[in-house]
């Protein structure tokens, strides 16, 4: 068994209204920042998996990401292995 550290990045799918992103965008003017658009707010989940190898660990994360961490109707996810990060 070995420990593997992952991040799952969950974001609203293209075309899904993201009022949080819009609110962030709306605040940029107060900072005096221009030229920023298409802000989308998502969620990042970091986790450690103990498994026989990296591939098995990634399988667990994929299942978790698709069944729990994201709602496939409205969100997309990307799994990233965090190399060199202590689990």
């Amino acid at each position: 068994m070995s420990s593997h550290r992952f991040a799952v990045n969950v974001t609203p799918k293209p075309g899904i209204l993201d009022p949080q992103g819009r609110a962030v965008e709306g605040s940029l003017g107060h900072l005096g920042i221009e030229g920023v658009s298409a802000v989308r707010v998502g969620r990042r989940v970091e986790l450690t998996v103990d498994a026989p190898d990296a591939a098995a660990a990634r399988d667990v994360v994929e299942r978790l990401a698709s069944e729990l961490l994201s709602n496939p109707l409205i969100e997309a996810y990307a799994v990233e292995e965090l190399e060199g990060v202590p689990a």
């Binding site: 209204l17 009022p19 949080q20 609110a23 729990l68 709602n71 109707l73 409205i74």
Partner: protein, 246 residues
């Protein structure tokens, strides 16, 4: 024998007591079902009440979906049992895939607690037949994630199949013109409640149990609870109550 309707209690449910009371007013014997129990105690119908199940962490309703009681509710629904999810209960049903669509953050980003008016699109379902006539129904909403979403193809199919059961309307019953007064959370096609394809599971954002007696300011919601209780009684007697897709 009185009809027994189960009300699921998750950690974080906060409308369970109101729902138990509303069901009593509607003539049922309500039964609390704890989230950790797998048995539904032989109830004739199930209500998932409002609240913040499991704190609504991650996404509203998603963690509740994996509780032992929800496995039994899913099996009960697959077997034709009547299930009504109100507010957070609707979110749990949507996350569990028992009704179509998803509930997104309100367009305004604000938590909304106020009266709305809705209208039933059909009066021939187990959840609406006792409403009587088609008229605007006034009852409260109390949610932060009530913006109904499904892709266009799904929405078209829902409309075609008669699965859009309730819509937000203006107080006089006229269709919402999309403004925040009449469609408070920005739901697509002003959808406030939907049916599953088999017609035995309903998700509804507004709270009929909070409008189940005149002393509460409105008793417009009691017809929905009466419909459920009455349908559950007929289902127990062996009648086919779900209408299915049109």
């Amino acid at each position: 024998m009185t009809v027994r309707v189960g009300v699921v209690v998750f950690p974080g449910s906060n409308c369970d007591r109101d729902t138990l009371h509303g069901l009593t007013v509607a003539g049922a014997e309500p039964v609390e079902l704890w989230h950790e129990q797998a048995s539904l105690d032989g109830v004739d119908a199930v209500v998932l009440p409002g609240g913040f199940a499991y704190g609504d962490y991650l996404r509203a309703g998603v963690i509740a979906r994996f509780s032992p009681v929800m496995r039994s509710v899913a099996a009960f629904a697959a077997d034709g049992g009547l299930v009504l999810g109100i507010c957070n209960g609707f979110q749990v049903l949507a996350e569990a895939g028992l009704v179509p669509g998803a509930l997104l953050r309100n367009r305004s980003l604000r938590f909304l607690g106020r009266d709305v008016t809705i209208a039933a699109e059909r009066l021939d379902t187990p959840f609406t037949h006792a409403i009587g006539e088609r008229r605007p129904l006034r009852m409260p909403i109390a949610h932060g994630e009530g913006c109904y979403f499904a892709d266009d193809a799904t929405l078209d199919a829902l409309e075609r199949n008669g699965q859009v059961l309730f819509r937000y309307v203006r107080p006089d019953g006229a269709p919402s013109d999309g403004d925040e007064r009449s469609n408070p959370n920005g739901s697509l096609r002003a959808i406030a409640g939907v049916l599953n394809a088999d017609g035995n599971v309903c998700g509804l954002m507004p709270h009929p149990e909070r409008a189940s007696e005149a002393i509460l300011g409105s008793d417009d919601g009691i017809g929905i609870l009466r419909s459920l209780v009455d349908s559950a009684a007929r289902a127990r007697a062996g009648a086919q109550v779900a209408v299915g897709a049109r």
